[in-house]
Structure formats: C-alpha cells, structure tokens
C-alpha cells in the first residue's frame, strides 16, 4: 500500500532525515498563505503514483499568484492535496532505498552515487547492495563500511550512513516493502536532504500497525493509483456480500465477451487464451475458493447488465475446492435475472473437477454447452470466441 509523499517524508523526518520545509494545501487559498516564506517554491501533487515530474504534476512558482495558480492546476489535475515546499538549490543527487531482494530472499539497502528520475538506467554497474537482518537491529557500521568501499568520501560518510540507517529502520519498523529517497540531495549549508520519498507498506502486515492505519486513514485507501470504475466498485460490493470464496477483482475492458474465470494463474491463462483466439474480453476477474450461488449469480447479472456483452464465457482450471455445480447454478440464475436465455448467452462452460457431473446435468437442462477436461483452456477460448462472433 503506497503512502503519499508527505506521509513518507514525515515518517523519515521522525527518524532523523532532513526534508525541505513545507506545508500541505487543499486549496489555492491555503497554498497562497505560504507565499513569502521562501525565495522559490515547488508545488507537488499528492497522488499515489510515480513519474509526477514527467506528467506535469510538479510545478515551480515564485510569488503568491504563481503559487495559487500552480496549486489550482494541480488540484484540477486530480490531487486532493498539494505539498508546497521551499525549493532548495541542490548540488548533487544520490539514491538510497530499501526493499526485499527475491533472489537473496533478504531485505537489502540500495545506494547509488547518482539519483534522479532515470536512476535505474544511469546507475547500471554502480549500485551498492547491503543485506539487512529482517529481525535484528540495523547495523549502521555495515552500511558505513559499504558506502566507504563505494567511494563515499569521509566528509559525507557519517551523514550518508546515518540516512541509510534511518531508511533501513523505517523499512523494518514500518513493515514496508519499499522505502526510497530519490533524490537525496546535497544542499549548500544544510547537508543531505530527502527531496522526494516513496514508501510502500505491506498490506498483509498492516494489522500490526493500527497507529499508521489511524494516523493516515489507510483503511479506505486503494492499492494502486487507478480509480476503480463504477462497475468495478459494484463488483467489489458483490464480493463482500459474504465471506464464501471470491467472485470479484473485476477489471473492465472494452470487449464483447464477458469472462467468468478462475483465480490467479488460471485467470491470466484464460485471458491470454481468449485474446490469442481473436476474442475481445469485456472484463478480467477472479473467481476462486467456493463462492456462494448468490454471489456468482449477482456477479453474472452485473456483467450482463452493465457491460452488455454479446456472450459470457465460463472457463476455469481443474477445480478441487470450487464446486462446478454451484458455479453453474449461479451463472444460470444470473442470466435469468438479467433477462437473458442461458443457452444463448453462455458461449462455453468449461469447469472440470469437483461436482462436474452435476454441473453438466444442470447446464444441459438449459441448453448450455458444458465441458470438462476433455477440452483444454485454449480450445474453450476458441469456442467462446467463435460463438461470440456468430
């Protein structure tokens, strides 16, 4: 779960990292108040995505009118808040971050002698990596030794290793999956400062950070910067109807064949298979566990009524936990509730495994083409595409 820049900066400042002086504004009027405090001002849209500089979501201003105008434009562009900060003259840029390295299966600290918006291309070959102990104390001396070996001069060594240790502590204490300071800038007379910061928290560990959940109101925050569509929100509500299984995680697309597909790897496989067969999916979704008939029915009805697809295809992997007959019943009820004949609406039903015979019997009654493992996922996708085009 991504934090806003201002939140990340506060968490780092509390651990001793210097950040520019600044204030949050929710309106042009609030932004104007800071005018005169600094010679030059930078205004940064508080949105949950990267690449803000390139997207025009960072602006510079000098006087009160300029500040108000810039703030207004960033608020119009979709930010609920703008971070208004002093613009500091910087001499050098570095990068310090912490994350899990899936190869080493360890948290690591990363330092590069260059920072900036294209740091990953610019820093090839000069990245310093130091393993962190996931449950032990942060050993600043190791970070200092690694920085020294990387050529950090004595004059910067204590300051940079202290910041590296603060990043490592923030990463472990907050149960973060990412902490980045980029750029970490050297400012004449003031030393090293975090001009931008990015923190992602582990959603699976939030339960032990109720203080953060309350402080930043994280309970209502989405997982990525994308705003869900109305249909996607409706699907999430259906999924929350009861706690039995999953029938949701809907993502809307433009196509004409609605999909009801298995979870995780299976949904990725089926979506690719439909596109490879020349089909245009109307949605992505994940159906897994053992969802109730009511949930599958409401989900099917939503797809049919709101996305208005020519057909719906039900294609899953060999299931053991999910009951094929309950999926069949839910899909049929959903078709009927949407006023569509199941036999003409369901392009293909391929759910092999648990309670498959019962599902076939039910589907045959409504004239639906039902299959098990005698056909593969790609064959089912081709049938769905042909039926949709017909």
């Amino acid at each position: 779960m991504r934090l806003y820049e201002w939140e990340a900066k506060r968490l780092l400042a509390e651990r001793g990292v210097s950040v520019p002086d600044g204030a949050l504004a929710r309106s042009a009027g609030e932004a104007r108040v800071v005018a005169g405090r600094w010679d030059a001002t930078v205004l940064k849209a508080q949105v949950l995505r990267g690449g803000r500089m390139k997207a025009g979501l960072v602006q510079f201003a000098e006087d009160a009118d300029g500040i108000a105008e810039a703030a207004a434009s960033l608020l119009v562009a979709g930010a609920a808040q703008v971070l208004v900060e002093e613009r500091v003259p910087l001499r050098e840029e570095r990068f310090i971050g912490a994350l899990y390295d899936p190869r080493r299966r360890m948290p690591i600290l990363i330092y590069t002698p260059r920072g900036g918006i294209d740091v990953e291309q610019d820093s090839e070959g000069s990245v310093v990596r130091v393993e962190l102990d996931p449950h032990g104390p942060v050993e600043e001396f190791r970070l200092r030794a690694a920085l020294q070996r990387a050529g950090v001069p004595g004059s910067d060594l204590r300051a940079l290793s202290a910041i590296a240790a603060a990043v490592a502590r923030a990463f472990l204490e907050l149960d973060a999956t990412l902490v980045e300071i980029n750029p970490l800038a050297h400012v004449a007379g003031r030393g090293w400062m975090a001009l931008d910061a990015h923190i992602e928290l582990d959603g699976d560990a939030l339960v032990r950070h109720q203080d953060l959940v309350e402080r930043f109101d994280l309970a209502t925050r989405g997982h990525d910067g994308r705003v869900p569509t109305a249909v996607e929100r409706a699907a999430a509500e259906i999924d929350a109807l009861d706690h039995r299984g999953v029938a949701g995680r809907l993502v809307e697309f433009d196509g004409d064949v609605a999909l009801i597909i298995g979870g995780g790897g299976a949904s990725l496989t089926v979506f690719d298979a439909i596109r490879d067969a020349g089909g245009q999916p109307a949605n992505y979704c994940e159906v897994g566990g053992n969802p109730s008939v009511a949930k599958v029915s409401a989900f099917t009805q939503l797809l049919l009524e709101r996305l208005n697809p020519a057909r719906v295809a039900v294609v899953m992997n060999v299931v053991s936990n999910t009951r094929a007959d309950l999926i069949a019943r839910g899909v049929i009820e959903g078709c009927l509730a949407a006023g569509r004949a199941p036999g003409e609406t369901i392009a293909v039903f391929r759910v092999p495994g648990a309670w498959e015979a019962e599902s076939r019997e039910l589907l045959a009654h409504y004239g639906v083409r039902a299959f098990g493992r005698e056909i593969g996922v790609d064959a089912a996708a081709r049938m769905a595409t042909e039926a949709t085009a017909a």
């Binding site: 990267g50 360890m106 690591i108 995780g264 790897g265 496989t269 060999v318 092999p352």
Partner: protein
C-alpha cells in the same frame, strides 16, 4: 521416483485442528500419506481423523518422528510455527498459509537457510508425489487427485496452485506421468523457487523432464535462465508456460526504481518467454500445446 517427499514421508500438520487443515488432513490420509501427528497449542490429547494432536512440535517430534511439517496457521502465527519446526530439526516445511507479512517470511527463510531446512511456500497449495503421497490440499479429495495425477517421470513446478493440477491433468490425459508436482507459492518471497525446484529435479535420476508454470513479476525465470546458460544448456529438458502476456499491455502495472534494479532483465511475461527460450528451454505459446511439445521432444521417455 520423486523429490522432497516419497512413500516414506512422515507428515506433521501444524494447525491441524483448523477447519481447512482438518479437511486436507483427511484428503492426505485418504491418498495414503502417513500423517503421523498434528500440533495445536492447547489441544494436546485430541485427535483429528485418528491423528494424535500435541501441544508442541517438540513433543510431537519425540513421539512420532516426522520428517516434514505442513504449516496451516493464521498469518501472524506462521513465523513462530516455522521457527518451532526448524528448532525440532524437521528438514522440510511446507507453508500453506497466505498473506504472511513479508518481514516474517524473510526472517524465517534466514533461520531456515542457516539450519539447512528446506521451505516450500508460503502461499503454497502443497506438493504431491503421485501414487506415493500428497501434502496439503493440492488436487483436492483423493479420488480427484487420482484422476488428475499419475506416477511418472516429469517434474511439475508451478507458481499457481490451481494450475498445478490443470497441468498435471493435461499431462495425464496425454499419457505423461509425473514424478513430483510442487506448488511453490505465488508470493514474491518464497522458500523454494523455480530454480531450486528445477535443480532438485535435475539431480533426480527418475525425473526425465521438467514443466514450469510462470506469471509476470519477480526474477525467478531470469534466475532459472542464468542457471541454464551457466550449465551450457538445460541439464534436464525444460518445458515452460508463462501466463499473463496481456498484463504487459495494461497501463499502470509498474515497479518502482529500486524494484527495476532488483528485477534486472525485465519481469513481464514476454521478457520471461524470450529469456527462457534464449537459454534453451522449450516455451509453449499456448497452454494446450504443453503436453504436445513434451511428447514431441521426449517421446516414450516420459510415457506413464
């Protein structure tokens, strides 16, 4: 005929009195797995399908000598459960629980590594040596497992639990049996990676070929490709499928700067397909082609 587990495997189930754990314990027993003990603190003395329940792993280990532990406890209890099993010197841990905090996973993997303990998961559906035993809910009830899985000489390793059974079922229908099928877990930090599993299969004299199922994200396929290249080509024929090409075309799927530095080589489905092919793996364009490609390359070497 298998890696990690076999007919002699003696299984301990941590969290055995939970609803899901009790359910798969019965499935495992029905399939012939020797489930020798369960552990749930405070429930010592009870039984689950005649399997004795102990309060601690130490007690269970002393009484029943398990050599594999299956962990199915709530997410925040996984770290302690794993440390307890490692402390009791159980050489193989299979972690079924999903949504385990990443710091806990890193911590338990560090301790396991130092102790020489093998960890599969977290977020694994389990593993199965067809005809010998299954650990976890993989494949479901014993009758369904027998329908999808057949003993044989192809190793299967999958980042998706559900697709492990789909692939085994496809191979079975094509007359290709499996030596061991491993659901390694879908998380970014896991104990046994595709490469770890591949190396186990490559060293197993009874495994003639390996099939993998991959998804976008992470560096596992890159790591596997590096190993193939360093070995001068695949030591055991490798057949891959990578799902999720459409994700490459979706806006908004991105990794941070630091993530890009760690996942050198690209973590999209297409980048993985190209990387594995260049390293000598057979990569099927369509899932349905997988058994066809295996049969074409291996012929009767892999017939069940």
């Amino acid at each position: 005929m298998s890696v990690l587990v076999g007919a002699g495997t003696r299984l301990l189930v941590q969290g055995i009195t939970g609803r899901e754990a009790a359910n798969f314990t019965r499935e495992c027993l029905d399939y012939g797995t020797q489930v020798v003990a369960g552990v749930t603190p405070g429930k010592g003395g009870e039984e689950v399908y005649r399997v004795p329940v102990f309060d601690t792993v130490e007690e269970a280990a002393a009484a029943t000598h398990p050599d594999a532990a299956l962990i199915s406890v709530p997410p925040l209890g996984v770290l302690d459960a794993a440390l307890e099993a490692i402390d009791a010197r159980i050489p193989l841990l299979v972690i079924i629980t999903e949504r385990v905090p990443r710091r806990d996973v890193a911590a338990l993997l560090t301790v396991a590594h130092a102790a020489g303990t093998t960890v599969v998961g977290p977020n694994s559906l389990g593993l199965i040596a067809p005809g010998a035993c299954k650990l976890g809910s993989i494949g479901g009830p014993a009758a369904d497992v027998r329908r999808a899985y057949t003993p044989g000489r192809v190793g299967v390793v999958s980042r998706s639990g559900g697709m492990t059974t789909e692939i085994a079922s496809m191979l079975t229908r094509a007359g290709i049996g499996q030596s061991t099928c491993i659901s390694v877990g879908g998380d970014s930090l896991i104990g046994t990676t595709l490469l770890d599993a591949y190396r186990l299969f490559a060293e197993d004299p009874d495994t003639e070929a390996v099939v993998t199922f991959s998804e976008p994200g992470g560096a596992q396929e890159h790591e596997l490709a590096e190993f193939l290249e360093a070995s001068g080509g695949p030591p055991t024929p490798l057949f891959c499928f990578v799902a999720g090409r459409f994700v490459d075309d979706m806006p908004g799927t991105r990794f941070g700067h630091a993530g890009t530095m760690v996942e050198a080589g690209g973590s999209t489905a297409r980048a993985k397909i190209a990387r594995l092919r260049a390293a000598g793996a057979h990569v099927a364009d369509r899932l349905d082609e997988l058994p066809v490609v295996v049969t074409a390359a291996m012929g009767t070497d892999v017939a069940a």
